[in-house]
């Protein structure tokens, strides 16, 4: 029997689930170009930082065309359309109250923590247990103190630098138990620093430009990447801090156009584009 439309068979390789994460880089850093390998969150493309946990239902990638439309005749019917504008936006909310993430929402300012380096970690026993070589350097790391750790020679002000707190200290004052447990294990030569405050101003006319990657790993092994080549922070920023839920930091970005000569169908000629969607098929059992 011939297949009927109402059987509506689904191609199961096209059905899967994912959560989209946001990677951000300064615009002009060379840009991301897809290769044979998908984006690995453990080895990010050069210049990009991972903004961490997202509120799962919030990522929204949208583009819209503006068209010139010509209706003619009696009755008037559409006889011509031409694209005269394209705009795009990316919106997402993060599970975060950190200044490291908030600076991207403001769009005008790169916050600086100016953390003071205290010491180098001597050894790491576990993700949440680190040991220093002497007590003098880390006297200010008292119980409850929030601090940042980063690889030797790297930047305490990185957007994805990790912070945690001191939960307990052994009697010799050298071994520190950390809570919350850091997402990534501290390196055995990482440096530790503290800062007193970070201020970010609303205002100024400055607008920072970034490049965005929305990365979605599907559970069947495929990956979809939304890329905005050049964006600025959205027009509005609303921060709502409530007692009934963790802080959700909303980020929105408006897309700018860039000129590219690798757009299919354009004969190698430069075309103005704002975004692209990249699909990577599964290459291994996940």
């Amino acid at each position: 029997m011939a297949e009927k439309t109402f059987t509506n068979l689904i191609n199961e390789v096209e059905v899967s689930l994912a959560i989209q994460r946001l990677l951000v880089a300064e615009f002009g850093g060379g840009g991301y170009e897809p290769t044979s390998g998908r984006i690995d969150l453990d080895a990010l493309p050069a210049g990009f930082v991972d903004l961490g946990a997202v509120v799962e239902d919030t990522p929204s990638f949208s583009v819209a065309k503006t068209k010139f439309q010509l209706d003619a005749g009696l009755p008037a019917v559409r006889q011509f359309e031409a694209v005269i504008g394209v705009e795009g936006s990316f919106e997402i909310s993060l599970h975060s109250n950190s200044w490291r993430k908030a600076q991207y929402a403001f769009g005008n300012y790169s916050a600086v923590s100016s953390a003071t380096e205290l010491s180098t970690i001597a050894s790491v026993t576990a993700k949440n247990v680190i040991t220093f070589a002497n007590t003098t350097d880390v006297q200010s790391l008292v119980l409850g103190r929030q601090f940042v750790f980063a690889a030797l020679g790297s930047d305490f002000d990185k957007a994805d630098a990790q912070e945690t707190r001191v939960a307990s200290i052994t009697a010799d004052g050298l071994t520190f138990f950390l809570d919350p447990t850091p997402l990534n294990t501290p390196g055995p030569t990482d440096v530790v620093g503290i800062y007193d405050f970070v201020q970010i101003f609303h205002g100024t006319t400055a607008i920072r430009q970034h490049e965005l990657l929305g990365v979605a790993d599907f559970i069947d092994g495929s990956q979809v990447v939304h890329q905005f080549f050049k964006v600025v922070a959205g027009d509005e920023f609303t921060e709502e801090i409530r007692p009934t839920e963790n802080e959700r930091l909303p980020l929105s970005f408006n897309a700018f156009g860039v000129s590219r000569s690798d757009v299919p169908g354009a004969g190698g000629k430069s075309q103005l584009v704002i975004a692209r969607r990249i699909y990577f098929p599964s290459i291994a059992v996940c």
């Binding site: 689930l17 559970i219 996940c286």
Partner: protein, 145 residues
Amino acid sequence: MAQQPVNLNTKDTFLLLRKIASYLAANGVGTLAADGADAAGTDIFMQVLPEAPITGTVIVSTGGIDLPSDPTRRPGFQVLHRNPNASLGLAKSVQINRLLAGQWNVLSGFPGRITAVSEPGSYFKDDAGNFQYFLNYVVTSTFQR
């Protein structure tokens, strides 16, 4: 007539329970018989919790949700843990919940996410006075019907 071999490629509900039981056993929750059947020395079971041993865990299918327009599948299951000691029972429930709640792709062959319906903790006593803890989950999966 020769008995038909069981088609292990059939990703049915029982196999899902089997995968969950194996996963919990592999992560130290208890001991599961190799064939999944009740056997001496085992304390993880499927569908039915036998009278002995008293301290044991059973994984029970609870149906789940079938949304007509959604090609993903959402089978539900309950993990019931029985323990004569209330605090040990709660500790075991928390251990099980940490292994299951919010986990992605932990069951081989069942791509999907396990979502907890509630936090661990609720219990009641059975006729013999043992504490029974209930943990309910839904799997959102793309495995085939």
